[in-house]
């Protein structure tokens, strides 16, 4: 049975998973969840994803949620097809652990701050609320310091986990692209190594196919 992706077209976590389905060339059926109508809070949805968040997958009866769990599952389930090495082989414990280090950095040192910037300057504006400029500036200056560390790391190696592209790099795309919508793109653009790295990620076909939103199922590749 074709894998089912229950997701919202423009949700950051949904895009994170959709990109990896593209990278790994996994056929999938896209079931669009309407967040505005709170479809994710309906009982039928909560039975599968009890936190009421998007996305989740149904892989022939196997239900999985949390975007970074789903992307790891796909990378490990389909090691030979599509882009390889997105999660290093666990038998190379050191390489795999460096990937997990980069993944943890993405969550703790990038998304946690980028999310605040995007929330204040993009989401709140959309719903007609006043941005908390202090929260925005605080997050902006903290993220700036973190990206100084990224600039050093990417001066020594092309990708965050080492010599090859992994999920840790790709995971930055959903919130990274939204920094530009928040008027904070300079955080990336002002740092040559970070900028070069991010630009290459953005130009991948897998991102270009979904950057304007997940719109369609993909039954074959």
């Amino acid at each position: 049975m074709v894998l089912k992706l229950y997701a919202a077209p423009l949700s950051t976590a949904s895009l994170r998973v959709a990109q990896i389905l593209h990278e790994k060339k996994v056929p999938f059926e896209f079931i669009s969840i309407d967040l505005a109508r709170k479809e994710n809070k309906e009982e039928e949805y909560l039975e599968k994803q009890p936190f009421g968040q998007v996305p989740y997958i149904d892989d022939d009866g196997f239900i999985l949620y949390e975007s970074r769990a789903i992307t790891r599952y796909l990378a490990v389930k389909y090691p030979e097809q599509g882009t390889q090495g997105l999660v290093p082989d666990i038998k190379d414990v050191k390489a795999w652990a460096l990937f997990e280090q980069a993944s943890s950095n993405e969550v703790a040192n990038f998304e946690s701050l980028a999310r605040v910037i995007v929330y204040e300057k993009v989401f709140k504006v959309r719903i007609g609320q006043e941005p908390d400029l202090k929260a925005y500036e605080n997050a902006h200056s903290q993220l700036s310091a973190k990206l100084d560390a990224y600039e050093k790391i990417l001066g020594k190696q092309p990708y965050l986990a080492g010599e090859t592209l992994t999920l840790a790099d790709l995971s930055h795309l959903p919130f990274g692209t939204r920094l530009y919508l928040a008027g904070a793109g300079d955080l990336i653009d002002s740092r040559p190594n970070v900028s070069k790295w991010f630009k290459a990620l953005k130009e991948r076909e897998s991102w270009k196919e979904i950057e304007k939103g997940i719109t369609t199922s993909r039954e074959e590749w």
Binding site: F51, E66, I90, W96, A97, V107, A149
Partner: protein, 214 residues
């Protein structure tokens, strides 16, 4: 060469790693980083950990940081000994990764921020913002209501066996009473699960301070 953990004896993230050393029965050296002197921002330190954060691990020249990554490294390197903390089967592993992600986004995000607000800020001569604290606890409570459901059907967050995902909750979860929050105790399944984690010898060994075992 014995593995050396660089951290702070009472830091939550340092404890998160130390628990795993004990679970896997792996001896380790411990070097306390002098926070008061700003040692974590020194050029020598930043050369190893570019974000200037603790802990980090030195395994005979191999450096790894981020507590949850260090924990994974110890688990996989010593997979043959001690408690098995990450499943091998594809689907069970998927459920582990799901639980690990839930710990970070649906627990730690709120619990660590709440602890920072009420417990850490005073140490930095900052005034806790009670409205912020209350909002964080409210969100945490909604998430723990879901934990209550999940833990009514299975023993641990990822299934019926303990994993790193469960253990990762210990450092901040154990500090919630210190900030006046009983969000864990007030939910029977969550309380039972959490107590079983706290009763483990690995937590008992590190709950007050982390010390070398080598």
């Amino acid at each position: 060469m014995v593995l050396t953990l660089y951290g702070n004896p009472q830091s939550t993230c340092t404890k998160r790693v130390a628990i795993v050393f004990h679970e896997k029965q792996v001896p380790f050296n411990f070097v306390a980083v002098d926070f008061a002197k700003g040692e974590h921002k020194s050029p020598e330190f930043v050369a190893k950990q570019p974000f200037g954060q603790i802990p980090y691990l030195d395994d005979d020249g191999y450096i790894i940081y981020e507590s949850r990554a260090i924990a994974r490294y110890i688990e996989e390197k010593y997979a043959g000994q001690g408690t098995a903390l990450i499943p091998k089967d594809l689907k069970a592993k998927g459920h582990f990764e799901q639980a690990a992600s839930v710990e970070v986004f649906n627990f730690d995000a709120y619990a660590s921020a709440a602890v920072f607000e009420k417990l850490i800020k005073p140490y930095q001569n900052l005034t806790p913002d009670i409205a912020v604290f209350d909002a964080l606890i409210k969100k945490l409570e909604a998430k723990l209501d879901v934990y209550e459901q999940i833990l009514s059907k299975q023993k641990y967050l990822g299934g019926d066996e303990v994993t790193l995902a469960d253990l990762s909750h210990l450092p901040y979860g154990s500090l919630l009473p210190a900030v006046g929050s009983n969000v864990i105790e007030s939910r029977p399944n969550v309380a039972k699960w959490f107590k079983s984690l706290q009763d483990r010898p690995s937590w008992q060994a590190v709950k007050d301070v982390v010390a070398a075992t080598a």
